[in-house]
Amino acid sequence: MQAERKNSAAKWLYGAITALVLIILPFVLEKGFSEYYLYLATKIMVWALFAMSFNLALGYGGMMSFGHAAFFGIGAYTCSLLLVKTSCPLPLAFVIAPFVAAGAGVIIGFFSVRIKGVFYFATITLSFAQLAYILAFKWRSFTFGDDGIQGIPIPALISTDETYINYYFFALIIIVICIYVLWKIVKSPFGLMLRSLRENPERATFVGMKVENYRLIAFVISAFFSGIAGVLYAFLETAISPDILFWSMSGEVILMGLLGGMHIFLGPALGATIMVLLNSFITSYTEYWGMVLGIALILIVLFFPKGVGGLMLEQYQKWMKRKGV
């Protein structure tokens, strides 16, 4: 009982420290460094949300989706097109976008979740995502094709023209809410169902579970939150192109999950942080970002299959044990 209380006190303390850091960080970055770092911090948060949404499918549901760029991109495109082509107010566009992404999740998921085997699952989700990419690329009259959508109108309150501070906090609030909801889902009965069917779908079937239904729901939730990440990305960049639907985007989010540790709740966020930072620093020295990334990943998969987050957690547990003894 006492240990439990101590534990929850420690949790509040960590939470408060994290909150403080996240609130002070933008001011430190802006004053001490440059606006660019503030942009980078916001970008990391957006990718962290995308990676964690994706991880509900991969890490918790055991579904190796190679098509999550579709949901991210559909979220971004829906919101941007609504703002550019119609008089839809921004809050409404923001709300509609993730539902459209979730709708795409229903369609893609419907065909994918009943497929057995990682390889086929990856292939079919990849095919659907490439279809979305081709549509955005070729359907010029509707999507502006490879010109993309430039100058997405964003109200002054969260505009990034002068400073990223306002947008940072806007994104932070939304992302914290999303992550909290994801956390609730992971810790709910549904979360346990997902983990169990990832572990052993056969056993799950024999205790009376309709595996496909659970997987589909997880897939659609994952698509929904990926859509929100897409919208936040579009606002951050104020311009999007069909590239955000391309398969390499799906690949990057998978790598973030693997890099950070897909069986740890915050693992993918850590993976996103590392990858966005690496990308930014490496591309300022060499254009061979892809090569550096590839080598780093091979090393990680070979030597730290649980990801950087898994490695840190292991070390932490060892340290706690030693301290305990």
């Binding site: 909801v181 009965p189 549904f190 052993n200 799950a204 205790v207 579970m209």
Partner: protein, 251 residues
């Protein structure tokens, strides 16, 4: 009344007849056994009853209802719980979560997306764990349990589905003689307490004769003999194909 009745069940894989037209009845409240050498078709029979494979021919009735070729999860929901020869659990969940997950599935609470997991079936899961003697390991990962404990955990999972009929595929496989005796007592005790019917397959003869009311002997997909333990022991054909081997190998 028969809780399970099988009529003319047939299944072949390619040219191999795994189950060749079987009839079988399990009376309500009985603990019955199917024995037979490796490859006799015991596991295939279980897979047919529990809906894992489609049947080629024949019907399966459970509590008088035709359940032939229903999907496995439906059959499980109707009250047939099965364990596997190769222990089938959720290795990366804790022992407790294994049971809790099963409760959630079978009681239709798995879609609670935002509720606190701790509020669901904690007591019920603990009760089952103490019944199968695993309460002390509740927090451990199921995958690191010893073989005998894993079998018991699987029994716990099957019990948590709230079945009326247990299909146990070699429930003491991989256990020491002492563990075997304990497990058999446990199965008997639980079956009596919860008034369950049990159909199980076994290799170890002493196990079978210890608890079965009725024994069916299979070989090459067919029934060689069926009857009370004493009749089976006396049956010449059975001695030839089954005990003959055993006697030789034990000498």
């Amino acid at each position: 009344m028969a809780i399970l009745e099988i009529k003319g069940l047939r299944k072949s894989f390619g040219g191999v007849m795994a189950v060749a037209g079987m009839d079988l009845k399990v009376e309500d409240g009985h603990i019955d056994s199917i024995i037979g050498p490796n490859g006799a078709g015991k596991s295939t029979l279980f897979n047919l009853i529990s809906g894992y494979y489609p049947c080629d021919e024949g019907r399966v009735f459970f509590k008088g209802q035709d359940i032939t070729d229903l999907p496995p999860q439906k059959i499980a929901k109707m009250g047939i719980g099965r364990s596997f020869q190769v222990t089938n659990i959720f290795p990366k969940l804790t022992v407790f979560e294994n049971i809790q997950a099963t409760f959630l599935y079978t009681r239709g609470k798995g879609l609670k997306l935002f509720s606190d997991l701790k509020k669901f079936f904690t007591q019920e899961a603990e009760e089952i764990l103490s019944n199968v003697g695993l309460i002390d390991q509740a927090g451990e990962l199921a995958g690191i349990l010893a073989a005998g404990d894993r079998k018991r955990l699987e029994l716990g999972i099957v019990l948590a589905t709230g079945p009326d009929l247990l299909l146990l595929d070699e429930p003491t496989c991989g256990m020491s003689p002492k563990e075997t005796a304990n497990t058999i007592d446990l199965i008997k005790e639980i079956a009596e307490k919860e008034s369950l019917s049990v159909l199980f397959t076994e290799h170890k003869m002493d196990v079978v004769f210890g608890i079965a009311f009725h024994i069916t002997v299979m070989n090459f997909g067919s029934i060689i003999a069926a009857g009370k333990p004493d009749d089976i022991r006396a049956n010449e054909k059975v001695q030839q194909i089954y005990f003959g081997e055993n006697r030789c190998s034990s000498k």
